[in-house]
């Protein structure tokens, strides 16, 4: 077999017709893909977008004729370059995988075998299928590493997976997929686990390499802005059905279906900022560490004005969640203090009074784990009512109903368990639990980032309305700039445990930017399909003008 492609760009490569896939759960089979068609031409990149539960990964794997354990492809045809994957033997399908169709997984760290060096895994399929002899394949792998702008491309392959960072591993995995020069690569959320600044680099190198070798790709993601940079055509999937198929620019400019529009609805909210001098909480020159040696917070000072929202933004490891832990008393500062209404709060949770605890409430990112799965809504919201306010019986139930109404849910929810709620409803119950304590300050830790776009919008609007009606103060921890725009008055930018910039939203989000803020802001993908190209060109220009 040689590396020469048998077809021309634009020829039909993959055709899936009326594919139905079943998944097994709750003692029976359910349809999770309900008759979806996919048409992909050589050299074309298709974006497969949808929320969690849409069946994106399942469909992507089906393009390789593969079904995860617990799933089965029940009907339809999958024709790859004239070969019907449903009709040929497993051995024939296997011969295609890793040679003509390759896969890039979301979690590179888990998907590399810890026992082998990276380059051995990169060339494994290529050598096995006899596409290239070992030495040649290794030389080619080093070239791919270089193409993908990995550091030390000649030696990085000798390293083991745990010795390399997540962003680099993701690029090595792309090299692994590219090594046999496949006709088709399936990218399954390859950048979801990465920070935004890393994501940009990985996206850029992936796009460059598929263009360079004219490889067709299916790019699976939940992030429309990301897919806009990568794909020629976009397919929107929901609950295992196609909602809309269109060419990328056309879909972005003029989506046909309401659902498609809702995918970027969160970007339509924008709160007008307000200034205020009435400080309810002050984090005053706080240092903190988990081990006693490495500082995770370094001289952090943040002022939170009453009735307003301060957004703390930063990437993983920036210390934004640790700041929340210092405020709530879960992690005692090693230096500095936290002032609430002008009075210092005891550093440790145990030393705080019930009254102090009541005034600061917290809402978590994962509503799933923030609620005890064995308690009903009545227990979950009722407990703070009993605990802080001493409400019992009818009085408590009365207040419960008021709270449910506030979060736009009715009394039918009162006896449900968390498993009987949807993602957005769960987060609403968590909001109601925080409200039940009648707090002054609510810390929202990434409360929308695990939710689908349309649900995010609903939650953000709810939080804004509650702030208006109840005069609540929010500290909003997030890494998502669209969310920041939607909800904040002030912004704090954190990096490596320090505050790099803080001020009103309008100041932070407009030039001149300090270096890191600029990097962070510019790395957030925008809906514009030319954004990545433009960004790369600009960064190129800058680095050449001031070396």
């Amino acid at each position: 077999m040689n590396t020469e492609k048998s077809g021309q760009k634009g020829d039909l490569l993959l055709e899936m017709k009326d594919v139905v896939i079943d998944g097994y759960s709750d003692d029976r089979w359910h349809e999770i893909i309900k008759g979806v068609d996919v048409t992909l031409r050589r050299g074309e990149i298709m974006g497969l977008i949808g929320e969690s539960g849409a069946g994106k990964s399942t469909l992507g794997l089906a393009a390789m004729g593969f079904a995860r354990p617990g799933c089965r492809i029940t009907s339809g045809s999958i024709i790859f370059d004239g070969i019907d994957l449903m009709k040929v033997s497993e051995a024939e399908r296997r011969a295609l995988r890793g040679s003509r169709i390759a896969y890039v997984a979301q979690s590179a760290a888990a998907s590399f075998n810890p026992a082998h060096p990276l380059i051995a895994q990169t060339v494994e399929a290529t050598v096995r299928r006899g596409i290239k002899p070992d030495a040649e394949a290794r030389a080619d792998a080093r070239k791919l590493y270089r193409d993908l702008q990995l550091p030390n491309p000649d030696s990085i392959g000798e390293r083991y997976p745990h010795q390399v960072s997540g962003g680099q591993l993701q690029r090595v995995m792309t090299a692994m997929a590219m090594s046999p020069r496949p006709d088709l690569i399936i990218f399954d959320e390859p950048t979801t686990a990465l920070d935004v600044t890393t994501q940009v680099e990985v996206l850029a190198s992936m796009r460059r390499i598929v263009e360079q070798y004219n490889t067709a790709a299916i790019y699976i993601t939940h992030d429309l802005a990301v897919v806009a940079q990568m794909a020629d055509v976009i397919k929107v999937l929901r609950y295992g059905e196609t909602i809309e198929d269109a060419e990328t620019r056309k879909m972005l400019a003029n989506p046909e279906k309401a659902y498609t529009k809702s995918l970027w609805s969160v970007r339509s909210i924008e709160k007008p900022e307000e200034k205020s001098e009435d400080i309810v909480l002050k984090v005053d020159h706080v240092d903190a560490s988990y081990t006693g040696s490495d500082k995770v917070l370094d001289d952090v000072t943040i002022e939170v004005p009453r009735g307003h929202t301060v957004a703390i933004v930063g990437e993983s490891g920036s210390g934004k969640s640790t700041t929340a832990r210092a405020i709530t008393g879960l992690l005692a500062p090693s230096k500095g203090q936290v002032l609430f209404n002008g009075k210092p709060l005891p550093p440790r949770l145990k030393e705080r009074s019930i009254d102090q605890l009541q005034k600061i409430q917290m809402i978590y990112q994962m509503a799933d784990t923030a609620m005890n799965p064995r308690q009903t809504v009545r227990d979950i919201i009722g407990r703070p009512l009993e605990f802080y306010l001493g409400l019992r019986g009818r009085e408590r139930d009365q207040r419960l109903l008021e709270l449910l109404e506030m979060i736009e849910l009715d009394e039918t929810f009162i006896d449900r368990l968390p498993a009987e709620l949807s993602g957005g409803q769960k987060q609403r119950i968590c909001i109601a639990r925080a409200l039940a304590a009648s707090p002054e300050l609510i810390i929202c830790d990434e409360v929308t980032s695990a939710l689908d776009q349309i649900v995010q919008k609903g939650i953000l609007e709810l939080l804004l309305r509650l702030q208006r009606e109840l005069g609540l103060t929010y500290i909003f921890i997030t890494h998502d700039i669209a969310t920041v725009k939607a909800i904040s008055d002030q912004i704090v930018v954190m990096l490596e445990g320090r505050v790099v910039e803080q001020g009103m939203k309008s100041e932070i989000l407009s030039p001149p930017y300090p270096e890191y803020t600029k990097l962070l802001l510019s790395s957030v993908p925008e809906m514009d399909p030319d954004w990545l190209t433009g960004l790369l060109a600009e960064r190129e220009r800058e680095s050449s003008s001031n070396p």
């Binding site: 998944g23 097994y24 759960s25 003692d27 359910h30 349809e31 999770i32 309900k34 539960g53 069946g55 354990p69 799933c71 997984a105 979690s107 888990a110 959320e189 929901r238 609950y239 295992g240 059905e241 309401a258 659902y259 809702s262 709530t328 879960l330 949770l349 605890l357 409430q361 978590y364 994962m366 784990t369 923030a370 005890n372 799965p373 064995r374 308690q375 407990r383 703070p384 605990f387 979060i407 736009e408 849910l409 009715d410 039918t412 929810f413 368990l417 498993a419 009987e420 709620l421 949807s422 993602g423 957005g424 409803q425 609403r428 639990r433 304590a437 349309i454 649900v455 919008k457 609903g458």
Partner: protein
């Protein structure tokens, strides 16, 4: 484990109940109450038990039946046994027959009666011992998990490591030689030794729960330790602990049987299966001459084996069910 599950969209998360899927948002706009998603339907406990039983494999049904029969024998032993527990008759080693269905032992006690009382004694003692082990080990395990990596956790975990470095049967033998072999000592010693295993399991499963945000939320609310333990953690670790109870019971049951067989466990005249095997073991040599007599020591041994098989079958099924598809 769970980490990787989060990163990889699991197939289970991608499953959507059909009833919800069709309602596209359309133009009706968005409403929180109307929001659909991966909602699990609730069933009543009774419905769940019924569904479970209907789908239970034959091995599990067999196990449940056997366990029920044993419990009945244990409860109604005096009514079911033809003679008293320690009633002595003139004829020792009587053959199987009308008067003594399974013959008599070396002192002339009716084997069948002792087998029936044995259900009460052997199973009862093993059950009590397991309960004590769970109360000690479970309580300390959860406490250690809440105190994760604190001094208490470290102290308990290290002590358990050392206790577990000695095989428990050997340890039991040492302790029994120190304190003397009687039933009370036996219960206490085995319960304490076995509580180390329970501690490990309880701590491990609690650790998975303790890191949950809802436990942190309870701490932030200012809840007392006991409330967190009892209301937030315990209900969520019950399924694995119930399965573990079954396994530990088998282990305790077999250990006590082994010790009694060795003559240092449950002491005469209490009717106990392990001791019965030892007392009648000699009869096995006479298989050529009297097959039924040779079978006599096999009866109590089989009684032990049958119950452990039954419990293991039920636990196996329970584990299979509670872990979903993942075997």
């Amino acid at each position: 484990m769970s980490n990787e599950n989060e990163i990889n969209p699991s197939t289970e998360a991608e499953l959507v109940d059909q009833g919800f899927s069709k309602s596209d948002l359309g133009d009706q706009g968005y409403s929180a109450a109307g929001e659909v998603g991966l909602i699990k339907a609730r069933r009543s406990l009774r419905a769940n038990v019924w569904r479970g039983l209907k789908s239970a494999p034959p091995t599990a049904l067999f196990g449940l039946t056997i366990i029920t029969i044993y419990i009945l024998f244990a409860l109604f032993a005096p009514l079911l046994a033809p003679y008293g527990e320690a009633e002595i008759f003139e004829l020792s080693y009587a053959p199987w027959g009308e008067e003594f269905m399974f013959g008599t032992d070396q002192l002339g006690r009716d084997i069948l009666s002792r087998l029936i009382y044995g259900a009460r004694n052997t199973v009862g003692i093993a059950f009590v011992t397991t309960m004590i082990a769970f109360i000690i080990g479970g309580g300390l395990g959860i406490t250690a998990a809440i105190n994760n990596n604190g001094w208490l956790d470290n102290l308990l975990s290290r002590s358990v490591d050392v206790l577990m470095a000695i095989p428990s049967l050997i340890f039991a033998l040492i302790l029994l030689s120190m304190f003397g072999a009687n039933t009370l000592n036996l219960i206490i010693i085995i319960a304490v030794l076995d509580s180390t295993r329970v501690f490990r399991i309880a701590r491990a499963v609690s650790l998975n729960v303790v890191v949950m945000d809802y436990v942190e939320a309870a701490r932030l609310r200012g809840e007392k330790m006991f409330w967190i333990l009892y209301r937030e953690i315990l209900p969520n670790i019950m399924p694995p602990l119930v399965a573990e109870f079954g396994l530990r019971f088998c282990f305790v049951f077999l250990t006590i049987a082994a010790l009694s067989f060795l003559g240092v466990g449950i002491q005469p005249p209490t009717a106990d299966w392990g001791s019965m095997v030892r007392e009648t073991a000699g009869l096995i040599q006479f298989a050529e001459y009297d097959l039924t007599a040779a079978m006599t020591p096999m009866l109590p041994a089989a009684a032990i084996a049958l119950l452990t098989v039954a419990v293991n079958f039920v636990v196996d099924w329970f584990l299979h069910k509670s872990s979903g598809l993942k075997d």
